[in-house]
C-alpha cells in the first residue's frame, strides 16, 4: 500500500462549475469556465427548445384513438395486427427520450438540461400502458421546458393540467360525488392526483397537510379532464363542468369560494407560493445540484429568494450558484446513472451515437427514461445508486463502451473531463493500464469521474 496522500484531490472551481452544476465537461469547457467559473455557469441558465418535428401530445392522442379503432376493426374482421401501427407509441417515446438526451449531451449550456431533468423527475410520469408510453415524454417538452426559468406556479399549473399527468394519476375520470355527472352515471372521486400534488409536487410529505386537505383538493380539481378524440373530435385539457363537485372548499385553512375551474387553479397557485413548498423544492434542488446533505445556509438563501420572487426558478438557481456552500472543494455527490452516461458521452463526444445503444445504457444502469415506476421519480441519493450490483453494471458498461473507442487518448480525455482535479493515484493507474481501452474504462470508473 502506498501513502494515501497520493489519492487526495482538490476539485478546481472550474471543475465544480462544469461537473457539479452542468452535465460534465465537453471539449474546451473547463478552460472556458476557468476564467470566472461562477459567472460562466450563471450565464448558462438559458432557455431550451425542442424540435417541432416529433409528435406532440395531441398527435399522440389522435394516433392512439386511431389505434384503438383499428384494433377493434381488426378484431371484427379477424385480420392479423399491423406491426407498424402497434409500435408507434414506443417509437415516439424513444425518439423523444433520445432528443432530450442528445441535446443534453451536445448542449453548450448543459446546466439547463439538468434543470429540465430535475423537474421532469420532480413531476415524474411513467410509461405504463400504450397511451402513457406515447404521452410520458411530452410532459417535459410541453409543460416543463417552457416554464423552466419562470415562476414555479406556472409550471405547476401547466403540469397538473397536462394530459400526461392527468392520465398518469387518474384525474381524467375523477368526478365529484355530487356533480351532475355522478347523478347520471356511476362515476366517482379519485384522489390520486390531489395526493401527489400535495405530497410530491408542492408541500412535501411533511408539509403540514391532512387527509381532509387531500379530499378538498381532489374535489376542487374534479372535472379537470382530457378531451375524448372520438367524441369531441379534438384533444388536450378540458374542464368538464358537469363533473365538477359543486360548493365551497377549504384547503389548509383557507376558503375557496370560486366555482368551476378557477377553484382548483387558485388552490394550485396558493400551494406553489406556500412557504413549505419553497422549503421542499429548494431542498430538493440543493440536494440534486450540491449534496445529499445540503448545508442549511444554502437552502435558507434559496428559500428566501423563492419567497421574494414568488418562486422564480431562475432567481432561485442564481442564488444557489452564488452561495459559497455550493462550491465546497471536495466531491459531494455520486453521479446518478443518467449523469454518468451523459457526462461520459460529453467527454467522448462521439461523431455518431446509436439510438438503441444510448437508451440501452440507461436501461442497463437502472434509469431508463420514464420508467421510475413511481410518481416520486428516481432517487437522487448515493445510497440508492452505489449498491454492489449497480456498481457492477457501471463497471461492465464502461468496459463495453470503451472497447469500441479505437483511437482514444485517455490522458487527453482526462484533461478534457477533469482538468487538474485528478489524484496522482488515479492518474498513475489510468496511465499504466494494459491497453487504451482499459485506460479509458478506468478513467470513466475513477472516483473523480464517478463523483462530482
Amino acid at each position: 500500500m502506498s501513502d494515501n496522500t497520493n489519492s487526495l484531490v482538490t476539485v478546481s472551481r472550474a471543475n465544480i462549475a462544469v461537473n457539479r452544476f452542468g452535465y460534465g465537461a465537453r471539449g474546451h469547457e473547463l478552460e472556458a469556465a476557468s476564467k470566472s467559473p461562477k459567472e460562466w455557469i450563471k450565464s448558462q441558465l438559458l432557455p431550451i427548445t425542442f424540435s417541432t418535428t416529433l409528435p406532440n401530445s395531441n398527435d399522440i392522442f389522435l394516433e392512439h384513438a386511431q389505434f384503438v379503432k383499428d384494433k377493434k376493426q381488426q378484431k371484427k374482421s379477424k385480420q392479423p395486427a399491423k406491426k407498424t401501427v402497434k409500435n408507434s407509441a414506443r417509437n415516439n417515446l424513444r425518439l423523444m427520450s433520445i432528443e432530450t438526451l442528445e441535446q443534453a449531451i451536445n448542449s453548450p449550456h448543459s446546466i439547463s438540461w439538468r434543470l429540465l431533468d430535475f423537474f421532469s423527475n420532480h413531476f415524474s410520469v411513467s410509461a405504463n400502458g400504450r397511451l402513457m408510453t406515447g404521452l410520458a415524454a411530452t410532459l417535459e417538452r410541453e409543460a416543463i421546458a417552457p416554464n423552466l426559468f419562470g415562476r414555479f406556479e406556472d409550471m405547476l399549473l401547466a403540469v397538473e393540467q397536462h394530459p400526461a399527468m392527468m392520465i398518469y394519476l387518474n384525474n381524467e375520470k375523477s368526478f365529484g360525488p355530487n356533480s351532475r355527472q355522478a347523478k347520471k352515471r356511476k362515476v366517482g372521486l379519485n384522489e390520486n392526483l390531489a395526493r401527489e400534488i400535495l405530497e410530491l409536487h408542492t408541500l412535501g410529505v411533511n408539509g403540514g397537510y391532512q387527509q381532509e386537505d387531500v379530499l378538498e383538493l381532489a374535489k376542487a380539481i374534479t372535472g379537470w379532464s382530457v378531451k375524448n378524440p372520438k367524441k369531441e373530435r379534438s384533444t388536450g385539457f378540458i374542464f368538464r363542468a358537469h363533473g365538477h363537485e359543486p360548493g365551497n372548499r377549504k384547503l389548509l385553512g383557507n376558503h375557496y369560494k370560486q366555482q368551476g375551474i378557477s377553484q382548483g387553479e387558485q388552490m394550485l397557485r396558493d400551494l406553489a407560493n406556500h412557504p413549505n413548498t419553497a422549503k421542499y423544492v429548494c431542498y430538493k434542488l440543493a440536494h440534486h445540484f450540491v449534496s445529499d446533505h445540503p448545508p442549511k445556509p444554502l437552502t435558507d438563501t434559496m428559500e428566501s429568494t423563492w419567497l421574494k420572487t414568488q418562486g422564480n426558478i431562475k432567481s432561485v438557481m442564481v442564488s444557489l450558484l452564488n452561495a459559497d456552500e455550493a462550491w465546497l472543494a471536495q466531491p459531494q455527490k455520486f453521479k446518478t446513472p443518467r449523469e454518468f452516461v451523459i457526462s461520459t458521452f460529453r467527454a467522448l463526444a462521439p461523431a455518431k451515437m446509436k439510438n438503441k445503444a444510448l437508451i440501452n445504457a440507461f436501461a442497463n444502469l437502472g434509469q431508463r427514461p420514464f420508467s421510475a415506476g413511481s410518481p416520486a421519480g428516481f432517487s437522487d441519493n448515493e445510497s440508492d445508486w452505489l449498491g454492489a450490483s449497480a456498481l457492477m453494471a457501471r463497471v461492465d458498461w464502461s468496459a463495453n463502451i470503451s472497447a469500441y473507442q479505437k483511437r482514444v487518448n485517455a490522458e487527453k480525455l482526462m484533461t478534457i473531463a477533469l482538468g487538474s482535479s485528478v489524484s496522482p493515484h488515479t492518474y498513475q493507474t489510468v496511465m499504466r493500464a494494459e491497453s487504451r481501452q482499459q485506460a479509458l474504462a478506468l478513467l470513466l470508473m475513477s472516483p473523480e469521474f464517478q463523483r462530482r
Binding site: 494515501n4 368526478f175 387527509q211 448515493e382 445510497s383 454492489a388 450490483s389 457492477m392
Partner: protein, 400 residues
C-alpha cells in the same frame, strides 16, 4: 388517540412480559419440542437438518395490495355491497380456506401450500403507518422504527444481530436492508462482462475509496455466483419468477446467506383492478412456487414473509378499482411455517367498523408478527428484538 395508536401501544404494553416468557419457552421446553416431530403428523416434512439453517425471505409488494381481493372475506355481508363489481369479477371459483375466507383463484400454488399447512395468511394488519402515501408507507414498513429512518431497515438490523448475511434482489439496496454491511445486491444484467484484468485494475484504483472498494468486492462475489443466469438469452430480464429462481440459487450456494429480499411492484390498482390483480397475483404465485422448487430441502426450514405498505379502500371506487387504505394482509409461507390456518381478528366491514369509515380497520401490527417470526425462527431474545424493532414487541402465536 386514534385506533391505530391504540393497537400500537397495546402491543408495547402487554408484550414485553409475553416475549420474555416466550424466550424461556424457546430455550427450555423448546429444545425438548425439537426432539419429537409433533407437527409432522400433518406436514410430513422432515425435521430441519443442521445443514439447512433457518432462512427468511422478505417479499415486499410495492403499491399497496388490496387484501380484500386476495384473501376474500366472502362471509362478510358487507363485502358484496361495498364491491358489487369487483366481487363479481373473478374468472374462476375462489379457493376456500379457513373461517370462510377464500384465496383469489390465481393463487393456485399458494392454495396448495395452504393445504400442506405451509401457508399462513394474517388478515387486517397494519405497520402502524397512518397516512396513505405509498412511498412513506413503504419506507415506514421497511425501516421498522417509529420514525422513518431511510438509512436503516429492520431486516438489516436483524441479520446484524445474528451475524447473518443477506441478498437484495435489486439494483440497489432497499431500505429494509440498509445499515448492514452484510448485504449483497444482485439484479440481472444485459451487459457483457468486462474481463478479469479490468476488475483487478479497478481493485487497485479503488484502494483508497472505501465505498467503491467494498461495493466492487461484493459485486464481484455475487457476479460469480449468478454467472450462468447472467448469460441466459432471455428477452425480458427481471421477471419475478426468474428473480426468485436466482434468489434460491444464490441462497443455496453461498454459505451464510440465510436471508433475502425481493420486491414486486404494480399493486396500485386505482382502476381496472380485476384484470391487473389477476396478472400480479399469478406472478406472485408462480414466483413463490419457483422459490420453493429452487430451495429444495431448504424450503422446509424457510419462512417467507409477504407484506405491503397498507391496504386499500373497502369500497370500490368509480374506476373499477380501489384507493389507498389502511389495513391489509401479511402472508407467511414456507416449509417451516405452521400454516393451514388464518390468523388476525376480523374487524368487520360495516361502516362503523371501518377505519375512518373507509378502510379495513387493522386489528394487529405487522412488526409484532414479524418479530414473532424472528423469535421462533431465528431464536431472537427480547433484547435482540428491541434492537430490531425498538418500538414494537412480538406476538406470541405459533407461527413456526
Amino acid at each position: 388517540m386514534s385506533d391505530l395508536d391504540k393497537i400500537n401501544t397495546d402491543n408495547q404494553k402487554c408484550s414485553a412480559g409475553v416475549s420474555r416468557r416466550k424466550f424461556l419457552q424457546m430455550t427450555g421446553a423448546g429444545l425438548a419440542a425439537l426432539s419429537f416431530p409433533a407437527r409432522s403428523v400433518f406436514a410430513q416434512a422432515p425435521l430441519a437438518k443442521p445443514n439447512h439453517p433457518p432462512k427468511i425471505v422478505w417479499i415486499l409488494l410495492r403499491g399497496a395490495l388490496d387484501s380484500l381481493h386476495t384473501i376474500v372475506p366472502r362471509f362478510d355481508e358487507q363485502y358484496k355491497k361495498l364491491r358489487p363489481k369487483l366481487s363479481a369479477s373473478f374468472k374462476s371459483p375462489l379457493l376456500p380456506i379457513a373461517k370462510g375466507y377464500a384465496l383469489h383463484p390465481a393463487l393456485k400454488n399458494m392454495h396448495q401450500l395452504y393445504q400442506e399447512k405451509s401457508l399462513l395468511p394474517i388478515v387486517a394488519v397494519s405497520s402502524g403507518y397512518q397516512q396513505r402515501s405509498h412511498f412513506d408507507g413503504q419506507d415506514f414498513l421497511e425501516s421498522g422504527k417509529a420514525e422513518i429512518d431511510h438509512d436503516s431497515g429492520w431486516l438489516a438490523r436483524a441479520i446484524d444481530v445474528k451475524n447473518k448475511s443477506a441478498l437484495a434482489v435489486s439494483r440497489s439496496t432497499p431500505i429494509s436492508l440498509r445499515s448492514s454491511e452484510h448485504v449483497n445486491t444482485w439484479y440481472p444484467s444485459n451487459l457483457k462482462n468486462a474481463n478479469e484484468e479490468f476488475y483487478a485494475a479497478l481493485g487497485h484504483l479503488y484502494q483508497y475509496d472505501e465505498a467503491l472498494k467494498e461495493n466492487l468486492a461484493s459485486g464481484l462475489k455475487v457476479k460469480g455466483l449468478a454467472a450462468h443466469e447472467n448469460d441466459s438469452k432471455k428477452k425480458r430480464k427481471g421477471k419475478f419468477i426468474d428473480l426468485t429462481k436466482v434468489c434460491a440459487k444464490l441462497m443455496l450456494e453461498e454459505q451464510g446467506l440465510d436471508c433475502a429480499m425481493l420486491e414486486l411492484g404494480g399493486w396500485d390498482t386505482h382502476n381496472n383492478q380485476s384484470n391487473r390483480l389477476e396478472q400480479k397475483l399469478t406472478e406472485l404465485d408462480v414466483g413463490l412456487a419457483a422459490l420453493k422448487d429452487g430451495l429444495g430441502e431448504s424450503w422446509d426450514n424457510t419462512v417467507v414473509v409477504i407484506g405491503t405498505e397498507f391496504g386499500r379502500t373497502a369500497k370500490e371506487n368509480g374506476t373499477a378499482g380501489t384507493d389507498h387504505g389502511t389495513g391489509s394482509a401479511l402472508i407467511l409461507a414456507g416449509g417451516a411455517v405452521d400454516g393451514g390456518k388464518v390468523l388476525g381478528d376480523w374487524p368487520g366491514l360495516n361502516p362503523e367498523q371501518l377505519f375512518e369509515q373507509r378502510d379495513l380497520m387493522p386489528t394487529s401490527n405487522s412488526f409484532s408478527w414479524i418479530a414473532n417470526v424472528l423469535v421462533q425462527h431465528w431464536d431472537f431474545s427480547a433484547d435482540e428484538i428491541r434492537q430490531v424493532f425498538p418500538d414494537t414487541a412480538p406476538y406470541n402465536q405459533k407461527l413456526v
